[in-house]
């Protein structure tokens, strides 16, 4: 792998992570954004229901999960950085920590979902929980896909690092960071705002 190859990020067609990935990121953000606006509109019609339902969520779970994802994002940024320096062992270490952060996020989310199901707060309970389940599950699917992408990148980094292109690695990293960005919109609006 040529770790000295420089990408001209100032060129409009080469944002870090690649133009296709950034188009996907904007489409995803707009999709989640529209759903959040509709959630806000529903909350305006039934403010008490949304407030009381929001209080049934565990803010601590949401906060800890935010810390997991942000820490995972920090590890991913470090992994890309060390790959660019040609330090494969450190890059691999940080990639594994990134995946661990994602796994911890999913584990805590599973605990949270189990609590909600046990309490009968399922998708059909009310409008708030309809949005809660739809948006957070859609995000969880992204996290699972992100972990699979990182596992594939990790396998290539371990077995054939010379075939790994920095642009591909940056694309995988950008997808992972996108999961952070989506969560940074969902967490305050669903768990804290209403």
């Amino acid at each position: 792998m040529d770790t000295t190859a420089k990408i001209d990020y100032k060129n409009i067609f080469y944002p870090p992570g690649g133009i296709l990935l950034w188009i996907i990121i904007y489409l995803e953000l707009v999709t989640f954004g529209i759903a959040l606006v509709f959630m806000g509109l529903n909350a305006r019609a039934e403010p008490e229901l949304f407030h009381e339902s929001r209080l049934l969520l565990n803010t601590a779970y949401g906060t800890i999960n935010t810390v997991f994802l942000l820490s995972s994002g920090w590890c991913m940024a470090q992994s890309v950085h060390f790959l660019k320096l040609g330090n494969f062992s450190k890059s691999k270490l940080f990639l594994r920590l990134t995946i661990l952060g994602g796994m911890l996020f999913l584990a805590l989310k599973a605990v949270e979902y189990a609590d909600k199901i046990e309490a009968g707060l399922t998708m059909g309970f009310n409008a708030f929980f309809g949005y809660y389940w739809m948006l957070t599950l859609f995000h969880v699917i992204h996290v699972v896909v992100g972990i699979i992408i990182l596992l594939v990148l990790g396998r290539t980094l371990s077995k054939k690092p010379q075939t790994l292109k920095i642009a591909d690695y940056e694309s995988g990293a950008a997808f992972w960071h996108m999961c952070d960005l989506i969560w940074l919109l969902l967490f305050p609006i669903i768990y804290l705002l209403f």
């Binding site: 409009i12 870090p16 810390v67 940024a77 952070d180 960005l181 940074l184 804290l192």
Partner: protein
Amino acid sequence: MERTFNITWLVLIGLTLLSAVFANLDFTYVATIILGLSFLKFIGVAFFFMELKKANAFWKVLLVAFLTLLLVVVWAV
């Protein structure tokens, strides 16, 4: 670069904890503050972890414009 990532991570964790604290307070501007902190965290991840700060101005303006519009609309409704 590593230092930048470390500082960004610390700031993001601090802002997350601050959001959780404000969410438990009851005063007029709580929603505005929570959305403002969310704006800062989003920009921190995009510009520093994703290195969007190195990208063409088009991508930066597009992201900031989208985020501002979304948070203002959510705040207004």
